[in-house]
């Protein structure tokens, strides 16, 4: 199911860590939609799923753009890895945008996830 979604440009990802708090908390599940058309490109302020060359799969906020098709990103929380250590990143490393956040906190029995 998840593989099928990914093929359709949607990824469901569990978040580890609080560097994007309060937008995303550790344990949350994020639904991301792929940047793959001219109508859906990274914009300043997007929470993005990034395939970082050194850190692996990470989630950060897009903060700006440079020449040579590079993107600046940073975490929201003050304790996040400094932006200077994260990038700039080639735009093709920025996979997609956060579409939906599912709260990772346990709910009472029987409650459907929203």
């Amino acid at each position: 199911m998840l593989k099928l979604l990914k093929r359709c440009g949607v990824r469901v990802v569990r978040i580890q860590g609080d560097s994007m708090a309060p937008a995303l908390l550790s344990g949350d599940v994020g639904v991301f939609i792929q940047y793959r058309s001219r109508f859906l490109r990274p914009k300043r302020g997007h929470v993005a799923l990034i395939d970082h060359p050194r850190l692996g799969m990470i989630v950060k906020r897009v903060t700006g753009f440079r020449e040579n098709n590079e993107v600046d990103v940073r975490g929201d929380a003050s304790t996040s890895t400094p932006a200077i250590d994260l990038g700039p990143l080639p735009a093709n490393r920025v996979w997609g945008r956060l579409l939906l956040r599912l709260n990772g906190q346990p709910k009472h029995s029987g409650s459907p996830a929203t």
Binding site: G17, S19, G30, L49, V59
Partner: protein, 162 residues
């Protein structure tokens, strides 16, 4: 879609981890600890005969060295685990796929150094940690060199060419 139970367990994860106080990783501490294990084994060997013939001071030295050997071997394991667990991520493992095996061999060899007194185990531990250091610096595209440490046990160690 099941977002609550087993379905969640199969999700891929993305890191939003915080970096305080990370970023300072260096295998040199592990190398020094491994050298210390060899040095302590040598001192124990030097005092073995005297301790066996009832020299209390020599027995005391052996007791102290045994205690310190335990600590230094544990330090090797701790330092290597930190780099392996905190610094290495998917891209590094893809580039250096034998890292898991190497780290595991360091764990076993350091334990062997704790359990016994064979110098060969200490020598092999230094060599394994040297290999780990070479892998670590390779992930940063930093060249390394082997130099002989200018103090006992005068063994070959890996240093970055900075």
């Amino acid at each position: 879609m099941d977002f609550t139970m087993k379905g969640l367990l199969d999700l891929e994860t993305a890191s939003a981890h915080c970096d305080i106080p990370c970023k300072i990783y260096d295998p040199s501490t592990a190398i020094i600890a491994a050298l210390s294990v060899v040095r302590l084994l040598d001192i124990m060997q030097e005092n073995a005969d005297k301790a066996g013939s009832g020299d209390l001071a020599a027995a005391n030295t052996i007791a102290r060295c045994t205690f310190r050997k335990e600590e230094e071997a544990e330090k090797v394991k701790h330092e290597v685990r930190i780099i392996w667990g905190d610094y290495f991520k998917a891209p590094q493992f893809e580039k250096h796929p034998n890292t898991h095996d190497l780290v595991h061999r360091i764990m076993l060899k350091a334990s062997a150094c704790k359990q016994g007194v064979a110098r060969s185990n200490g020598e092999e531990l230094v060599e394994l940690v040297n290999e780990f250091a070479e892998t670590f610096w390779a992930t940063k595209d930093v060249e390394t060199q082997r130099v002989t440490c200018p103090y006992p046990p005068s063994m070959s160690v890996v240093q970055p060419k900075l």
